[in-house]
Symmetry: C3
Subunit: 141 residues, 3 copies
């Protein structure tokens, strides 16, 4: 990956490597940048898409898989701490050849074609994620 940091160390552009995993690449970038609390946003294109829909009744993420090249029309999220490590939470919208947009919660299994991301640190104590039983998700405490 290519990293283009700001002079004050509080932000950076990142270009992810072709063929890498989108969520994995964003997580690796957050680690390299030393971001424990911050925002992330990205656009670009991918060779396939794996997102998930959180089913509140079963409290399970149900995968949604699209096996084609797509534009990433938006990718928006944050970095915070989970189990003491930087954790990237990102939701994605992706457009197909007809311009129809699909999206959800980004999970592993999305192959980068070309991604340009932007990170910015919060500059304050990181929110910490812990499982909240009634929601079924690890949320900011």
């Amino acid at each position: 990956m290519n990293i283009y940091p700001s002079d004050d160390g509080k932000a950076a552009f990142v270009r992810l490597a072709r063929g890498s995993d989108l969520l994995g690449g964003l997580t690796e970038a957050a680690e390299k940048l030393g971001i424990e609390a911050g925002t992330v946003q990205a656009i670009g294109a991918v060779d396939d898409l794996t997102v998930a829909f959180f089913e509140p009744e079963t409290k399970e993420y149900e995968p949604i898989r699209i096996e084609e090249h797509l534009e990433i029309t938006s990718s928006l999220g944050n970095v915070s701490l989970k189990d003491g490590q930087p954790f990237v939470h990102v939701h994605v919208n992706a457009g197909d050849r007809q311009g129809r947009v699909f999206g959800g919660h980004l999970v592993e299994g999305t192959t980068v074609f070309m991604i340009e991301a932007y990170f910015r640190t919060l500059g304050g104590p990181a929110p910490v994620r812990e499982l909240e039983d009634d929601i079924g998700l690890a949320v900011w405490q």
Copy 2:
């Protein structure tokens, strides 16, 4: 709601309370943070969605209502001043169980399941909204 401010007071993460109104919660957060000019972005999930489409011929917002649990795949907008008060203008994209994405101008009537928002102040004079007759909307003067 839980607020996680930056040390310089210019930004914050916010987790909205489950069951609260999405637009109402974002507006309350902007007020608590004392933001008159800034950006807001959010991801998460909702138990239903009410957005609107501004019909330019009638100059009316037409509501679009979806009565199901959805992922908020993106929520993007700004805070500025309208009638002397902080006014949150946000557009939303939301994905269903099949990953299809719906969206529009956020209005009241969207129930938070879990929302993680980020606010950042502009750090300058706030734009002021006033009704512009030919557009039919209160826009930045």
Copy 3:
């Protein structure tokens, strides 16, 4: 266009003029603000939409055209340098009267109805775009 800069000169809100071209207006704003590296995000509405889908096999952008008024539910991207000039790369999501969302890579040919944009400089050396043959796009080197 109306520009509302931050006091430190690192960010600005911009309202684009009705009837202007969306990509052209964002590019003109970046030039006026003197931004060579930064992020851009916008919401609003347009009278029509022209986006493109990059076809990796032919390495050509295929246009997608929608001839109706749409909400811009998100517009997200960046400014960097291409051929020594600020170059705006933005992807767009847009919602129709039924709330269905369409999107892709923004190209010329989208008419602004009302657009509120936000720019923030990276505050560091700008990434430089150059054509990378195996991808077929001018990407950050």
